[in-house]
Symmetry: D2
Subunit: 361 residues, 4 copies
């Protein structure tokens, strides 16, 4: 069983995470961290911060000479931007604490609800922690889990299915290496196996960049090679569907999660199950994967297919809000400039699900 | 914080549940249990078992003279059908244990995966516990949570949105009492506020009953009156979106969960957030509810809207499978006769989310 | 990993427990429950209730035909005394709720603290749940854990070390079967291997019974046959010392817990560790067991020795308290008549530790 | 509710901890960390490492400008000694990994059990994490909890009761400020209110230092000002006795824990409870504190008294063990030079209990 906690403000000294429960001897390379974080940062239409701040993970414990040693793994990513914010974000004796105040709550973000919940007078502390920046360290802490899965012969692909309502054509039943190859050809900018959709997405994103509006989208993550019987039906909170969707829905801006193609499945008339067949060697197999790899909360040996829906990021658009100092209506200030982050979301979903799956071993 | 465990096989002596963490003094009526279980059992196209076995909840502890006393609440529902199965389901000294064997695993159910996971030679023990019958006690144990929410001024509605691909017309922004009234007029058979869709649903269900095939569907559950700030953004596993979807996706046959209308939101171009406005009294309000009531994992004071997608139940259809005794292909045996259970699902989703929300107080 | 919850008031309808996480195929006999509950009820100087109410466990789920099936195990013990109390303890529509009031809080019990915590006006609901009667179901729910341990070759002995300050002579390093045999000869009345102490204990208890005062004592529980490496040092809350003492100290009236002989160990000058030796076959062994079987929070292959200290039960003695109706000082009412329950405590400690240890498999 | 994880090897890059669940607005000073760590490091007879490595805590998140902001608090203490060990402790590409091997398992430590559990060929990785060095970060992460308690008017004192069997004379019923003053006069070297015992302890420690043997001891921690009703009796794992002793017994070398004076209490004949009295204002009070502040798992408004027993540290003495390379008997190597660490233990017990108590708010 794995447990993990993350910590860190968006402009505080550092992001950190501790992952507890890893088995010993799992091989991890320093580049594994770099690769996944680079992938998370990439994406056509991502904002400037993503480009200026290369994520450097420091391993503080739990990995020695490229292998897990059983003890908790602690990671840290320094916020290079902290220097510019420490006059109000310093843990102690900030020189000008009032300068950090954020007085216009951003609709679509937790600003207003958080202020009310915690009794803050402005939105700074909410914005700092509710920010999607937290997902950088969550992505990093998934690396040990990903390596564990890899040693078990389990591989995953994350891909974008749609951006701003324009849908890629995905053939999820294609062989894994075919999908991977197609995604590789498209590259980190779009993380999709459908190269034909790229120009439409590019145009849409370029157009939105001019208007300074953002786009949501959807994506699919597939895990291949899972053994039969991960998860369990015996208690409601051990069902893997629930555990996975808890993880996926805890990612900022993700508002929907499906195992397989739930919406389509819900429309079918009977026979919406995957026949059990047997081959010459006496092994069971299925010819379809409507269940998306889970039956009664357990893996059934088929690829595990997870679909997510992401809303447009609330950051860009000028939306009506209230200036807390005056109580007067005002437009939200320009905050950051990601036009889309669906590519990042695909990487993050892959990360959090990897943590859930690795926790089953 | 609430914790609960459920127990019970489908044809064993009884279903039980223990709920721990309830505050003292919450008023609960005996009829509260009956009402919600009756609603769960109803539904046009439900099978015979639902009709023959009225659920009788026995309160074993935690409620005295109609009020919670702080100690754990234990509930029991005897399986009236146990008498017919105890020759192989008795805890000790079953008279003919082999008679219970189920030798044809049901695709779409956990039969095969469970057998392999736990090393069983037949599917009986999987079928017994992975069965949706468990949701009867989960629905019952939500009653204390529902009563707690009611005392806080929180009310919920569960409704069917679509059956077998035929969609009701829902106006989720209509006033609560209007929606409730419309559902009441339609009744437990369909739990929908759109009376115009009923005849189409009825026809479809009747037709499927003849063919012995089942239908899935989708539904919506809304909670009104939630205070601002339930849940939290501070740690990934305290975000309410995740907690709610974990609960929803742990219900058998539910394969998708959305907060608000995630699929639609993912297609929008910018401005997909709910403006923050202020009224004459200085209170904040929103004129739209695209976020479905959650921002950054917290309630924002708007109605909480949860949508779920349910696959057709695997029970009815004759699907290809394997006879475990012979290793030969065969069709699954007729198992039960729910044509649709979307109405039940709406009640169960309401139940499990009520437990999550009550846990926040 | 095992999880369990217990429920039930002392004079409510029933005690229940649900145990989740048991592996499949563990053999359990109906007599296993009876035996351990009988042992818990026995003891020279136990009160009348213990004698009049034979504990009958009903298995409601999780065990079929004498074996665990992987799903949660639910147990119920009806309170035969409920009939005499249901006019105020009934879950609904109690006929004379006021008759149950307990107006004189018992010092040494949670009456007063509980009333203040939960805002009750009298002590009934505290007394009902804080009562040691809860340990009957906790003892029962340990049976599956005990059976699991037995299948792993692990055996346990619980014994009384002292009553009212009179100490038995224990040789904890004697072979297990020797200790067991000696205890068997003494019997359930005293659960000790030292037959010479019995007459002193008997005299003391008889004398106290006349004066209606109660006695505490201490006891030792030993687990034999544990594999090396249960528990872990990697995170503070996975250390077995902590888990075990949490379990032991959660038993009413137990106020102290030691692994091995902690008090003696604390006085030693150096060398207070068990030398590591190697035999002809190359197996490691120890010639002493000062550590009591745990090093760095893990079992080290030596017998696990747990010592507990129990205060005199607060029930018997006339102690000064306050009548809540008048605010005037008064003596507590006679409540029950256990002179000592150290024998029971030994059984309960064995039970809760069995649950912790079984949870490690 | 608070949760925390710690991480870090003894000679790895850093110790870290994340504490989740703190309320907002709790004042914390940078000196608070320094003070408690200095106190933990002090103690007559502590080894050289304690003196050469001043603990410098870096706050990485969760505290801004001297106050908690609700988000997780992350702390880091760099191991200054890492530079001397990184040729085999570096996370990646260690230059000479074999140099770190520890081939003689230390009896009394988890070396041997851990190796067997995790399948290691030598003891390095066990020694690194099972080391009491972990308690440095656990002590540090208690600071926010301590500050929370302070804001609630709760104060604690940790003191040494005995070293190597020589017992101080403690009057635990003396007023808090009297005890504090007496301890202050004695100072960090011994943390006891009994100045008369000092010379005996000093002589004993000096003598043991010459012989290179270590000493255990016992101590007492008292919390004053706790409100009535922290903890609960309703479920076994919510009882505060259990939670506290889990925390205390998870500290390396601590083998026994008592609430109040359990061993003495177990010998008393009846009346071993604290009478409930009422004063002129109608407030309840007690004239004794035999229960040590807890009744039925809840605080009862009396000072909470926790006693712990610590074995001599296994590090110093030359004990027989096995050289893993040869399988031959050998004496353990000199490892470190703490003669006693009971003073440190008192500080650590105070820390872990503070975390448990703060978790109740």
């Amino acid at each position: 069983m794995l447990r993990y906690l993350t910590a860190g403000e968006s402009h505080g000294p550092a992001l950190t995470a501790i992952l507890e429960g890893m088995p010993v001897g799992i091989e991890i390379k320093e580049e594994d961290f770099e690769l996944v974080l680079k992938k998370r940062q990439a994406g056509y239409g991502r904002g400037k911060r993503c480009k200026t701040e290369p994520e450097k993970v420091e391993v503080l414990s739990g990995i020695v000479n490229g292998k897990t040693i059983g003890s908790p793994i602690a990671l840290m990513i320094r916020n290079s931007d902290y220097e510019n914010h420490k006059h109000y974000m310093a843990p102690f004796c900030a020189s000008s604490p009032d300068e950090g105040k954020i007085n216009i709550p951003l609709p679509g973000h937790g600003d207003l609800a958080g202020m009310i919940k915690y009794g803050f007078k402005d939105c700074r502390y909410i914005r700092e922690r509710a920010s999607a920046r937290e997902t950088a360290i969550r992505t990093a802490i998934s690396v040990p889990a990903r390596c564990l899965l890899k040693e078990k012969g389990i591989h995953s692909i994350g891909m974008v299915e749609s951006i701003g309502g324009i849908k890629a054509e995905l053939n999820l039943n294609a062989p894994r290496d075919e999908i991977e190859k197609a995604i590789d050809e498209v590259g980190y900018d779009f993380l999709t196996p459908d190269k034909n959709v790229i120009s439409s997405w590019k145009n849409l994103i370029d157009e939105c960049e001019k208007k300074n509006i953002s786009l949501g989208g959807s994506g699919v993550v597939i895990f291949y090679g899972l053994p039969v019987g991960l998860g369990s039906y015996v208690e409601y909170d051990r069902r893997l569907d629930g555990k996975i969707s808890q993880a996926v829905m805890s990612i900022p801006a993700i508002k929907g999660c499906e195992i397989g193609n739930a919406a389509e499945l819900s429309k079918m008339h009977g026979n919406a199950s995957d026949e059990i067949l047997i081959n010459d060697k006496g092994d069971f197999y299925r010819s379809t994967n409507l269940a998306g790899g889970l039956e009664s909360g357990m893996t059934n040996g088929q690829p595990l297919i997870i679909r997510f829906y992401m809303k447009p990021l609330p950051a860009n658009s000028n939306i009506m809000s209230i200036d807390l100092r005056t109580g007067k209506p005002t437009k939200t200030e320009f905050y950051r400039s990601d036009i889309q982050a669906v590519t990042a979301a695909a990487v993050i979903v892959e990360s959090v699900v990897a943590l859930e799956l690795a926790s089953q071993f």
